[in-house]
């Protein structure tokens, strides 16, 4: 599957296309294979997202997972600072990233 990511223009936060808007959580990402270019052009123009691009991903029983480690790290946060990730209270959250 192809999912869409980028950064929030104002805050720089990593965001994912959930089909209607942008979410901080990779779990909300949806397959955008068919309309990726159209969505990204529209959302960039509306300044909803910055530096957006398409990511190869896989739907797993645990949720959507980017195929490449770089996007997996983007999805959660730095592996060396679990306290700064999106799930600081969950020590196992990084298990699928690395």
């Amino acid at each position: 599957m192809k999912i869409l990511t980028g950064n929030d223009l104002k805050t720089g936060a990593v965001i994912w296309w959930d089909g209607q808007a942008w979410s901080l959580h990779i779990e909300d990402a949806v397959d955008a294979t068919e309309h990726a270019d159209e969505i990204l052009a529209r959302e960039e123009a509306a300044r909803h997202v910055n530096s957006s691009y398409v990511v190869d991903a896989t739907q797993t029983p645990e949720g959507v997972r980017p195929n490449h480690i770089k996007e997996r790290i983007r999805a959660l946060g730095p592996t060396v600072r679990p306290d700064l990730t999106l799930k600081p209270a969950d020590p196992s959250a990084l298990n699928w990233v690395i």
Binding site: N7, L9, K10, T11, G12, A13, V14, E44, R47, N50, S51, N67, H68, I69, K70, I73, R74, G77, P78, T79, V80, R81, L84
Partner: protein, 544 residues
Amino acid sequence: MYKYDSYDQEMVDVRVEEFRDQTRRRLDGTLAEENFRPLRLQNGLYLQLHAYMLRVAVPYGTLSSAQMRMLGDIADKYDRGYGHFTTRQNIQYNWIKLEEAPDILADLATVEMHAIQTSGNCIRNISSDQYAGAAADELIDPRPYAELLRQWSSFHPEFLHLPRKFKIAVIASKTDRAAMRLHDIGIEIVKNDAGEIGCAFYVGGGMGRTPMIAPLINPFVPLDQLITYSEACLRVYNRYGRRDNKYKARIKILVHEMGKDEYTRQVEEEFAHLLTQGIEPPIAELERIIPHFADPAFDAATSDDLDLSDPDFKLWVDNNTVAHKAKGYVIATVSLKPVGGIPGDASADQIRLMADLARDYSFDELRVTHAQNIVFPHVKKADLYTVWQKLDAAGLSTANLDTIGDIIACPGLDYCSLANARSIPVAQKIAERFKAQDRLDTIGELKLKISGCINACGHHHAGHIGILGVDRKGVENYQLSLGGSEGADTSLGTITGPGFSEDGVVDAVEKATNLYLAQRQEGERFLDTYRRIGMAPFKEAIYG
């Protein structure tokens, strides 16, 4: 240290307001990202893996306590409570919001700081010896000349759009502590046979994907022609440096392809022409700058004795302090490499504590080192135990300077959008493996450097042991190299062979150090043993 005059301050203040307006226009849609991107980069604002990243310039690594305190306050107010000191003697913040970036620059301007020319194809922050003005072995203080170069290179209209970024280092000691020959221009202040002071120019060094050691192109340029000669070097580069291929655009490629002799001939020709143009700053400007770097009021009556009865304190003194030019003082380095920590990171509280200690015990001055540590340049021996106790209470007393625990590591794939592999976890695992103090002491000086991609921000080419992270079909892999050095004996490391997994490279480092311990002769460092016995036995130990 240097204090802004009204021109300096106005330039920075105007630039802040200019960027505030540019940011407003980006946020309201007047400016598209493709137009805004070069503007934000010229103000040090990158878009990195997780957020915007702001790189703040620390000219030649020198900070006042007020500046250091501001860096801590910014970490709290605008970031997530910490900052990352870099291999270019700067500081980076990893979690910046675009809408707040102009306010950060405004805060920085209140303490005479900025982020100008910390990115882009221009002359970057001038780096220097972190012990400048304090070292017992220096000829003169190189910082007035680094400051003159800073002023010359700031907003220089001819050099704001070079073929590629450009880095200059200035030192004045035979012991090179600034990786001088791995810069685009390395300047060593020297004395000639007639006893005159001048500059030796090394041009065309660098790391990155094509590492090169800068050759000497002129052994003696009079100090009062420093800027003119620098201008000539840049002009020839700007004229012929490649702009069609960013990977071949650095001056090292030009010097290599043109040949050192032809490049030098053209520089000398340009230099002769420029001498007729009178572009050297008036001597009055240098005379204005030099007093800013006058020695502080050292206490000539202070004791030269040091009570080393506390063994932990003695260990830190042995590892983290060096001789000062003034009797009764030392240069003390705070290691930002605790076992399990992130090399170069410091919390806002730690940054403010170091600011306070500099104010109270080091004549208000600190230095950032290219090895990602912090220096108190002028500490009275009588105060040293107190300083150490306060550092120890804040987790800043790691006694590992220049050992295998004092690892240079770039942010790597944990933070950097260019990286191919993570650097920090490798550094942490190596530091953990070698954490026993007796092991560090037995191994002695061993400079280990890790980069997460071929851009080599972690200086892996210059590591006695270097590690380069690469992407092998989506999996992190690590190449090991041996024999690099960034000192006066500058050399580039040689790759040992096939790469390793994250754990595998830690094992390989251990095998290399074990071989060194088995093979070394009296007084040899790891690097010395490697140079004497060569790669073959190390390969056998690592792969055999």
